[in-house]
Symmetry: C2
Subunit: 341 residues, 2 copies
Amino acid sequence: MKHPTPNAAPDAAPAPDAKSAARRPIPPQFGMDQALWAAWLYYEDGLKQDHIAEQMGISRASVFNLLQKARDEGIVTIAIDPTRIARADLALRLSAATGLSECFVLPAGNSTASLHEQIGHLGARVLENRLGETEVIGVAWGRTVMRLSQLLTPMQRPNVTVAQITGSSAATFDFSPVLCTSNIAERLNARCVNLHAPGVVSTPAVKDILMAEPSIHQHFDLLRQCTMTVFGVTHLIGPTLLVQGGFMSQAEMQVYIDKGAIGFASGHFFDIAGNPVRSEFDDRHITMSHDELLNVPRRICVGGGLPKVGAICGMLRNRLANVLVTDEATAHAVLAEYAKG
Amino acid sequence: MKHPTPNAAPDAAPAPDAKSAARRPIPPQFGMDQALWAAWLYYEDGLKQDHIAEQMGISRASVFNLLQKARDEGIVTIAIDPTRIARADLALRLSAATGLSECFVLPAGNSTASLHEQIGHLGARVLENRLGETEVIGVAWGRTVMRLSQLLTPMQRPNVTVAQITGSSAATFDFSPVLCTSNIAERLNARCVNLHAPGVVSTPAVKDILMAEPSIHQHFDLLRQCTMTVFGVTHLIGPTLLVQGGFMSQAEMQVYIDKGAIGFASGHFFDIAGNPVRSEFDDRHITMSHDELLNVPRRICVGGGLPKVGAICGMLRNRLANVLVTDEATAHAVLAEYAKG
DNA sequence: AGTCATCACTGGCACATGTCAATGACGTTT
DNA sequence: AAACGTCATTGACATGTGCCAGTGATGACT
């Protein structure tokens, strides 16, 4: 009889309601969200939920719900300064050895969550922290990137553009380029620009035709303005997702492997020494070019797991990333690999 | 026998310590601050303090202490998105009426804290949120600015410069220009540039000489690069702090009042219509010029209280501020004043 | 060497918070 | 118009947190 929004019209407003004692002595009509008010009183004024409930004329449980809503919606942000994590000496040593400009290493907690989950989590924090008012973010795809997108704190970034780096795969991943991109844009309340083209086409000629298409061409113009890219990294050993997911055939993959490729990231293959590995597949793959990628100032790679160590080393030597988010075990292994040669 | 830092050398390391059950199964040696680790597990992984204590091999109370340290030191930041507060319709209407680019209105809680305290608090949040990696912040002085400086969250901003807008007053305020400036710089871990000159000198000639002095000249060159200014606002009615604090004499003040001045902010007087009010005092006052101030992109004024309403209106019309942080009652009053004429 | 001050850590209690099933209002369907 | 589903809200209970005084270790001073 008091709560259902401040439109107190229905119940005779001036009615000297029985136990009205402390009932909304200040019917706030705050013009602002109740959750915001509660959050302010709780987090900034340090009041207890009891007091807030009393002041707002609602139950304490409702205050709790409002606070939770405030956290969920990003009205209140609880953030750990990721630069502190980078400072951890492991990260520092890794940066020094590889030439990364920044490196974030996940503490080796006993967390039960999957590695993708955990690295995506840390990656989300890093992305948020590195995010300016105005950005153009190029997004590739992958399981970790997908988790990252889901773990971003909702925020208002109307001047940020999130663009898809690579064509939409025909395959049905649950972490497709389209999903990764739109998820991130949604969380940031940013402009979402999908690439309305297949990821791989049948002949180079088709690629040429598509690339000449104004709408596609325009998209790649946008990509050249990227201020950051976000992507995962894949190794090629065993039954990889690239083949399993239907992104490419085993035969196509084998060509790269035969040429010495060890990994794949943001649309390009490379060997363990960091040299690009190319094949005719590249001429049919619709994605941002290698040179263009290297022109992006901040290139964030999220990924870890021991099988990926070789791929990560190759990618780092290839310079595709200058920011790496990974886990402790992988960081150690990469460091060892670099020490080796 | 376990806690005093991880240099576990003293107690025979391999000793099969009696109740060693869960004793630091992972003596982390994290290379990183324990507080950081605890904060990560608590705020990001959502573990309970009990679990964390177990994992880290310390008592729960210590975990609590670590978390508090993490909050105190700014490792963990809990922030309310101030843009939401700006969105509150009162703030919106005020922005629309006055031409402010942003406006933040303090919720009218029943807080017992002083108005300076509360507005300083909100101002601190606004400043933090608007702070880029690289800034030059010009700081004036006042009680509210002082509170703001004390309520800033500690953070690392090595590329920020905090510069004093106005000469150091001979008077002994507990909120002098020097203190306001150095406090803010300290909190931000930014470069602090004080103005080593008196605020008011005896004759215009002395001012001219000082202004020609290389070190002073250089300071004003720096001030011209300000990306934001932070200041309070004073009314001139009754025994004002300007006179009481010994900043200027009652006679000097009276000249301004006789000319119609109603307020004073960031070193300049103005009337209720927003016209600058000048006197010979200005020629002896060592401070950033009015024109230079108006060239600063973001000009944040913190202040409220009904006696200041006239002064705030004048200041807004004078354009000295384009961002205002105030309380609800004052906001209403200012809005009413604008509606009037 | 002995004494004292300081500091970090902890046990345990009082209190604050998180959770959940029950409640009642409202809108929708038959 | 009655029956139903949905949703926000709540009271009461189970946990988790905040705090303080007590303890032992360390280092400084006499």
